[in-house]
Assembly symmetry: C2
Homo-oligomer: 274 residues x 2
């Protein structure tokens, strides 16, 4: 069965949905999105994802055309139509159609069901490499559609044999292109507190870890990386993914560490119990 | 007759074109555009606009699907179908359709014909007001689709009784949201040299003025505004539009100045002779 999407009240196969050319997401980059998975046939952490989407929409001055209660059955419908046990959901909301190409109108809301693209197993076993880039996402706390930077860097990432980019600005690190970063320092878990998208998986890991680890949410410097035993990144799709090299700098002994493995197992168990 | 658009090889009425939902302009803000008018039924400064579009495409790693020679007849076709003596053309090119929602593919190219929205006459007679905002456009020299900032500021602009925003960063001014800025200081024309989109109208005004004015393309500070007799902004659509107030600061005597009027007349004469 096809992956379907909801667009302004109509559900159709994703490849049949057409967005008009005066859409402000397309013309002016005025769009926000969110992304999450189902586990066991249920939208994972729906309350948290909806709350974040709602906050992003408020910050972008876009009224939500659907309530949370109206949206949930649409998710279940899209999942059922896919014929798959689990899917990913992508929400995209833009400034709507603008005859003058600039004035915000009634938002366009897309809810797409998509196949899940699991991170390759070797990345969990051996860890990933990232390059450093001097940058801080504009309005990082809003999940906008602006990903030009990482896409412009895709050649540099590939040339370095890396899988992603870690942004830093004036020596302070913030986040990877689409995920948060954690440093393990002995019994401490340290993660940047600003210039980031506040990830739902980031929050979940902090919650799952707080009984056993000392948590520090604070500005994190590049120099902190020298003292890290392990580094990992978190996102809906990556879960807890170890980082073993940053540019030429090897983290710890260059191997995936015990804490990263343990927190990944904890996250999987938590998601599996839903 | 309807305004029509070209989309990946097909010409249709603009309101019938549908862009698929995996388009990277829509999903990831990976898009660039350009915009210009016809005068006397001919695309104005076509060579310059094409060259800029080509440079933007190169900087975004997007191969152009059409040559300049293939594109020009499409413009004439769209103009003819409109039934209007003159139209505006909007080029939009994105990273194409991405099944994985992030990898750049074959670009999607849109060429839309649109009605011209002339600037209201009172703005030329009385000049416009702008607010200041601390910001510098990322990749300002590429004409990307990223206009979130000005759209987020639209309420503040309106509340101030202003028409646009002037960006400054650390006291250095760059550009308005969609146009360049000039300062008239006695017999000098001063305009920012960096962190700007290099406007075709900016270049044209510099060419039209260089016989009579001393030209300075250089970093321009907020403090330079205190010494300006006149300030104006330039763009394809605005041509030469006077600015009489910046936040609470009045430029000169607050009236539209003689140099602004003279350069507008010169630009109109130049466009009219084509």
């Amino acid at each position: 069965m096809p992956y379907c999407g909801y667009f302004n009240g109509v559900i159709e196969p994703v490849d049949q949905i057409g967005v008009g050319v005066t859409d402000l997401g397309l013309l002016r980059g005025y769009g926000l999105f969110d992304y999450f998975l189902t586990y066991g046939g249920k939208p994972f952490q729906w309350d948290l994802y909806w709350a974040r989407f709602q906050r992003s929409a408020e910050r972008m001055n876009l009224p939500l055309p659907l309530t949370k209660e109206q949206t949930y059955p649409i998710l279940l419908d899209l999942l059922a139509r896919s014929g798959e046990p689990n899917v990913a959901f992508r929400f995209v909301m833009t400034g709507g159609y603008a005859p003058d190409s600039i004035s915000i109108g009634t938002p366009n809301l897309l809810i797409l069901s998509e196949p899940i693209h699991p991170v390759p197993a070797w990345q969990y076993e051996r860890g990933i490499r990232v390059i450093l880039n001097e940058y801080v996402r504009e309005n990082a706390e809003i999940k906008t559609t602006d990903y030009k930077r990482v896409m412009l860097l895709s050649g540099a990432i590939q040339a370095a044999g890396a899988q992603d980019v870690l942004y830093q600005k004036d020596g302070e690190i913030s986040e990877l292109s689409r995920s948060n970063i954690f440093l393990v320092m002995g019994n401490k878990l340290v993660t940047p507190s600003r210039n980031i998208l506040y990830g739902i998986t980031r929050r979940t890991i902090l919650d799952l870890a707080k009984a056993d680890f000392q948590i520090e949410e604070r500005p994190v410097l590049l120099s902190d990386l020298y003292e890290a035993d392990e580094v990992f990144t978190t996102s809906s799709n990556k879960k807890v993914l170890p980082i073993v090299q940053i540019d030429e700098f090897q983290i710890g002994d260059g191997q995936v560490g015990a804490v990263s493995k343990q927190l990944l197992a904890r996250f999987r168990a938590f998601a599996g119990t839903l």
